[in-house]
Symmetry: C2
Subunit: 335 residues, 2 copies
DNA sequence: GCTACTGTCGAGAACGTTTACGTAATTTTT
DNA sequence: AAAAATTACGTAAACGTTCTCGACAGTAGC
């Protein structure tokens, strides 16, 4: 246990009280600028760093923000984290990372084991179907901002990409390319994001008077393996789809792998489109058409909103929907 | 400020002292098992969660481990984090994330602004050339374990993949495939990892009596863009290389993109090999031969070592080198 | 010369825990 | 039956801050 420099050391060296040192270090009021100078100088000389535990205890709040999300090993979430970290760092907040592995029990376990009062707030992308464990947090006055996989019911700020319009654009793009039998590899049921993308897909079909084939909609997890397996199922139908819209790039890439196994020409025979703009989508061949999500922006804005909730007394919840943009590549060109 | 349940509430409800409650909650000694039962029951009933700031203050230590690394948006680091998080979570430790953006000043800034005594230890992959800011941490008795980009001089535990043998294997594989003019897209100078992979490359050439061409070794950053730019330079040489060994997959992928621009057949005309086994390496076409790093294992073992340092009084530093394995794909097959 | 400020500072309680020490009650030893 | 040891618990200090009260100058107003 290294004996750290404390406020007392500064006080003793300067022959003043700890109260004055504390004020000099933080406020500017009620302290002579000369003594303030001396304190700051001494603090620097001794390389004083405030003890965050003591500060947290005394003030009843900290500079920690907790991030709770399913994974960190994918482009979208890791980029969101980078965005969050960018603003958190610049404002002097530290981030604490909690990974749920996309398992609801783990998510609940994490929130229940947490001493939530030692957090300034939480940024979360939930994999749960119920949000009770989060309302327990907001009930105690700790702010939560959701991103991506948001709670449809809770009255908090939420930040997300435009899932509905992105899916609509994706589907409409396929239609405009001449595909008519469009399947959708959807996400797990009950997640708002899944439903919005599904709705965008359905509405685009309806707008263009294309029939809605229930067999062409398969719900499963978000992984590449799910996309691959689901596509194998789609290919068993007597009347195959001629295009596949993946709820995300990984499922779309899984679909492409399955198609390649069957020697089906991607684009020409069956079009494929994804969602995310994972760097891999540009590298795979044929390159994958996709809908880009502004992941970094989402992280940045989520964190900014959370900090506003933390610092402003009354700041009403906001819902921010960031535009998604279509990126056309090779996997949806017909000729 | 939500009034949280404290140890005092339990004590008052049970008509006992806070000391007894504290002991009942933590130790088993010096407390009757009946009262202990009652305390645990009451704690559960009140949904008591210990205040980590108070505990940290009183005990002079915490359960926070800090992770300091260059990026989070790539396969390797995000997988390492997942490994770290796996063991940290199971042992009740929380992880605090610091991203340096691969900038030395930022790394130094982070360590200097930290109240390091509020951490149990640090897990770091450094982008710095000097390690003074880390020895300042270990000098205060806080443990640091390096992974991947380790300090060559500091006496701490270190965990890394076998960079030398991996690079040696990669180069030898190219030689065995019949490539003779092998270039190396190296990492930044001064980083131990860069030097080890470079040495493996050089030694493999030497073993097989191939000339070492200084023009075929280019040092630059770790990004895909660097790999692409460096390859453009390589292609201007009168006598081009017939194979390229990238210090990591991203640079190798950058090389592939450059080669594609020149309509050079990858594999047949110029072989390409990477290092990491980024998922993208399997998706790009032709698929990229690479040397796989056990990223998850590295995270897991790093964290385990750190926890041993934290919990055991005298636990001497260990250096763990995990084997790298060659994964042969299409980018290095000649015919 | 008296009151009323204003500016600067210190004393001390408080935040929620842990822990060294003391003590009373009980049990064991002799 | 007295002495010693053990068990179970409480008291209070400590951890490093913050913050509410004053205290005490000095200044200004009358």
């Amino acid at each position: 246990m290294a004996s750290m420099i404390t406020i007392k050391d500064i006080a003793r060296n300067l022959n003043i009280s700890v109260a004055t040192v504390s004020r000099a270090l933080r406020d500017t009021y009620d302290v002579n600028k000369e003594t303030r100078e001396k304190v700051l100088q001494m603090a620097k000389a001794l390389d004083y760093k405030p003890n965050v535990n003591a500060t947290g205890l005394a003030k009843g709040k900290t500079n920690n923000i907790g991030i709770i999300l399913p994974f960190v090993t994918n482009y979208y979430f890791s980029t969101v984290i980078t965005g969050i970290q960018e603003v958190a760092y610049s404002k002097g907040y530290n981030i604490m990372l909690f990974i749920t592995n996309d398992a609801e029990e783990r998510e609940i376990d994490i929130t229940h084991n947490l001493n939530i009062s030692s957090f300034a707030g939480f940024l979360v992308s939930s994999c749960a179907s119920s949000f009770k464990h989060f309302s327990e947090i907001t009930d105690k006055g700790i702010h939560v901002v959701f991103f991506d996989r948001v709670s449809p019911t809770m009255d908090t700020s939420k930040v997300m990409q435009d899932d509905y319009n992105g899916a609509f654009m994706a589907t409409e793009h396929l239609i405009q390319q001449g595909y008519t039998r469009i399947a959708h590899l959807a996400g797990p049921r009950g997640i708002a994001m899944t439903e919005k993308r599904l709705k965008g897909y359905q509405d685009a079909l309806e707008k263009h008077h294309l029939p809605l084939n229930e067999q062409f909609i398969i719900h499963s997890g978000f992984s590449q393996e799910c996309g691959e397996a689901d596509t194998q199922i789609l290919l068993t139908h007597k009347k195959r789809p001629d295009a596949i819209f993946g709820v995300n790039d990984r499922k779309a890439i899984g679909a492409m792998l399955a198609l390649k196994q069957h020697n089906i020409k991607i684009g020409k025979e069956i079009g494929v489109i994804g969602f995310t703009n994972d760097p891999a989508s540009a590298l795979i061949s044929p390159s994958l058409t996709t809908v880009a999500e502004p992941a970094f922006e989402i992280g940045k804005i989520s964190c900014e909103l959370l900090l506003k909730h933390i610092t402003k007394k009354r700041f009403p919840p906001e819902e921010v929907v960031l535009p998604s943009t279509l990126i056309v590549r090779e996997s949806t060109v017909r000729k």
